[in-house]
Amino acid sequence: MNRIWLFLPLVLAVTLGVVLYWGLGEDPSELDSALVGREVPSFELPMLREAESPARPEMLKGKVQLLNVWATWCAACRVEHPHLNRLAEQGVPIVGLNYKDERDKAVEWLAERGDPYTQVIYDPEGSLGFDLGVYGAPETYLIDAKGIVRHRHVGVVDQDVWESDFEPLYERYRQDG
């Protein structure tokens, strides 16, 4: 028998070690979205500010934009808000999804902190949130011009996250569309 085979267990152990060590670095709370590559689910919800006018699923088509899930009860959304304001100033269109919130509080929040959203969908029961697989706010989706989800981020989108995760995709899909 060839002596080189004696090293096989060592090689296997090292390989396993490397794979497991690499797994340690992963953030277990970051789940891959089941929705990436699929269209945003359909919904029947009102707008936040214009209570009578329905929000239309078509508003998530036609251009590359962000869909940001937020609520006034969500502490991290406070941290995220200035970043969204800045992105909006830079001309990034952001649609808001006000998630399991109260209308008055949400409107007040936008008046106080500035409004980065082109439009805000009002989802008090979290029904669209559920179909999107939202399990906490804030969450942000990159949606291409055809209304297909291209990226999802759970947690605050700050400058770093925007530059590393969103901006390259945002530019790419804008060129495609």
Partner: protein
């Protein structure tokens, strides 16, 4: 007198707190014991996406409450267990199922142990076969020529 009133108040307060602390899953149960059993089994197989290591049956997170509510609704609408599980996986990803599906990305998970078993059995059989061959070789008597050479070597030592 005053003391008794206080005691009663304290007991009532304690009861109220205990009611609040009851597991969320106990709310709005199915009347039919069979349905209740099915609901409990289903919710134990679905994992809370927020709390990671709790099933939605145990978890008090709002998202788990929403998921339980959806399971209840789909059961009332006559959905099969598979449809309910699939509806959750479609939204929250295969992460939420405590029973991973059999797909290319989980092949290693499902087949890996059997592959390891086959390799292990193979190694054991090979070792046994080699050992037997060696023992056979040991027990073969030396030929006259071999005996002569062995004696020669021993003398040269």
């Amino acid at each position: 007198m005053n003391v008794t009133v206080k005691t009663v108040e304290a007991v009532l307060l304690l009861l109220a707190v205990m009611l609040l602390a009851m597991p969320a899953a106990a709310q709005e149960r199915f009347e039919d014991p069979q349905l209740r059993e099915r609901f409990s089994e289903l919710t134990r197989e679905l994992r809370c996406p927020k709390c990671q290591n709790e099933s939605i049956a145990e978890s008090g997170a709002p998202i788990s409450e929403d998921m339980r509510e959806r399971v209840r609704r789909m059961m009332r609408e006559g959905a099969t267990d598979e449809e309910i599980r699939q509806a959750m996986v479609d939204r929250f990803g295969s992460f939420v199922s405590y029973r991973p599906e059999f797909a290319p990305r989980t092949w290693a998970l499902w087949i890996g142990p059997f592959v390891a078993l086959v390799i292990g059995v193979g190694v054991v059989l090979a070792l046994v076969a080699r050992n037997r061959a060696r023992r056979q070789l040991d027990s073969t008597p030396l030929s006259d020529e071999e005996r002569r050479r062995a004696e020669q070597w021993l003398r040269d030592e």
